[in-house]
Symmetry: C2
Subunit: 379 residues, 2 copies
């Protein structure tokens, strides 16, 4: 193998390849990037077994003097290319043992790995794609993925469920204490019901961060392949049936309170400074329970009491309120803040149906997004 490539093109593609690169792996070969140069094209591949990424470079910024194949230490290769300032970079193999990286007065030699050790990666057949616009796919992921379970107790809950039926694509995530759901209309396509690991979605979001055009999605039994530009991004799916969440969402809300979103976020952030820290046993997750109540003159009070430190109390004037009864409801401020941040709307509504019934959040400009939070009992 002997190729010369524009450093900019190489780096841009390495940034995508890095999404599939494990820092450690029980299979050391997977810490490498697989290169395959044909007479006219360069393929680079990475895989951490959950995610596999392949890019194809075939443009005028690439000159292939000699085709060839190799696997190079991924982390080091990327770090070196990132730090090199040159316009073009020459990569060639010596004796199938060493990759030389050459640019200007710079010469790096990396011990390569055995190409034959690299596992064969089966990408889903490129037939019958579902086509989504990148901004739609990004919003489906961003507005739900934070509500997936962090713990592996119920593995299926660590993913976002994507379900299609009758033109509605529904993305749902829940950790059993809250739920996020976003619905979009899509063109005619087979029904499907798949659950994608949250880590894969985080990496996919990073990979398509600057991409705004169409993405093709290909499905198989246990994999999903996203194809865009010159990139194949494939993830495994989670096994098992996603729980039916349709009955969780109440449909009557006697109390509806509307807020300016930023005012509510600021007040909740401040009050939660003093909320008692309830940490999960093994992890540093704080729930920061706070209390919301309706006072006279339709003023909303957000408050918390911390036996060690003190109390916090803020009054907020809602932009609108419909309420027949007073209510006091307690919940995790972290859940509320994460839910609020998923909305683009400047005005959001809290829709309540009882002190220990789930409440939902909607936004005037996010018509198909529902965030649900389960309250905690306040004693």
């Amino acid at each position: 193998m002997n190729i010369t490539i524009s450093r900019e093109v190489l780096l841009e593609n390495l940034n995508i390849i890095s999404r599939g690169l494990p820092s450690k792996s029980p299979m050391p070969i997977l810490t490498g990037i697989k290169f395959e140069a044909t007479d006219t094209e360069l393929y680079m591949t990475s895989s951490n077994t959950d995610i596999s990424v392949e890019v194809l470079i075939a443009n005028q910024e690439l000159i292939i003097k000699e085709p060839g194949k190799t696997v190079v230490p991924g982390k080091f290769f990327i770090e070196i290319i990132r730090k090199i300032n040159a316009k073009n970079i020459n990569l060639y193999l010596i004796e199938d043992r060493t990759l030389v990286i050459k640019a200007d007065r710079i010469e790096y030699k990396l011990h390569i790995m055995d190409y034959m050790d690299y596992p064969k990666i089966d990408f889903v057949t490129l037939e019958n794609p579902l086509i989504l616009n990148a901004p739609v796919l990004k919003s489906l992921i961003k507005e739900t993925v934070f509500a997936t379970a962090a713990s592996e107790k119920k593995p299926i809950l660590t993913g976002v469920n994507f379900k299609h039926s009758q033109g509605n694509l529904i993305a749902t995530a829940t950790d059993s204490f809250r739920l996020s759901q976003k619905i979009v209309k899509i063109n005619e396509y087979n029904d499907f019901n798949i659950t994608i690991p949250n880590k894969s979605l985080d990496e996919l979001l990073r990979a398509i961060d600057n991409y705004e055009d169409e993405i093709e999605l290909y499905f198989s039994n246990n994999k999903l392949l996203a194809k865009y530009k010159n990139v194949l991004f494939q993830t495994r799916l989670l096994d098992g049936n996603y729980p039916d969440t349709s009955k969780l969402i109440p449909n009557e809300f006697p109390i509806v309170i509307k807020f300016n979103k930023d005012e509510l976020v600021e007040a909740v952030e401040r009050v939660s400074l003093l909320s008692p820290r309830d940490k999960e046993k093994d992890r540093e997750i704080t729930y920061s329970i706070i209390k919301l109540s309706i006072k006279k003159d339709s003023i909303i009070e957000i408050s918390t009491t911390n036996a060690t430190i003190g109390d916090a109390k803020e009054e907020l004037i809602p932009t609108n309120i419909e309420a027949n009864n007073p209510i006091v409801i307690g919940f995790s401020s972290r859940y509320l803040l994460e839910a609020l941040r998923s909305f683009i709307s400047t005005e959001i509504s809290l829709n309540l149906s009882g002190e220990i019934r789930p409440f939902i959040i909607r936004g005037d400009k996010d018509s198909n997004l529902t965030q649900l939070i389960l309250p905690v009992r306040m004693d």
Copy 2:
């Protein structure tokens, strides 16, 4: 106590007070901020026993309705004030048990601590100051403090030594493998020889970050007090005699190589990506040993060899070179990078006197700054 104060003035002063505030302390009272409001002035004090800070607020942005004293939970108080958006903040005590923080529709109540438990802090008497300009003091600290020892094996080396004699103020730091020394001329003053803990200097740097005017320094046996604006910043000094480093610095350099600093930094950063990682037993300190050699045509080669990963080699054209002999010298790239970053000069010189003799770095625009590095033997 009952005061109303501009949030901006309060926060600015709390940012300075936070430099002396321990996050944890064997004396819980020290995690609090001491408030003392007289009829016309407000004092706030913090101390972590090494560092003590006091600010005095007496301006039109402060209204004292009722004098008083208290100690409030430092971290929480600062976080709340940081997050409040209001223009003015009202602070008052209820029953000597609770501090109320009030602003707009916001009301926080903090359990206060017992004022009587707060230890008396002796500040050095404000007599006979040495006056330095803040930029001079900052450069003395910034250009040396990184070379202090991180380990407590020889406690005196964890500080920067400040020595005055005959108008020369010499700041010296060494961890026995490298040395930083900066000399400035000062006005007539008594001789002194003190060593200030590196952590105190880091905090002082942060406290005076935006301050560019005169600073008064007051000395006592075991303390140094810096006074500027409305701030007293006091630190304990390290016990013991600082080692005599004057004989460490060679004075003849048969080889002098000048570089563009940025070019050298970039090359060293890249090459050190591949340098073997020699970690200190307990800590994550990497030395990243690299090699510098003079090749034919006065080209300088920077290189490293890593048995696991591969080799790196870069050629640099120095801006000037005086050398009678070839030389190959090995050293920590981390030490070289930290030393180089202390110079404002765009051209720096490496001054060498032998493959296993210390070499020094100087900059054309940093006339009184010397950085010294001890090479390692290359086999």
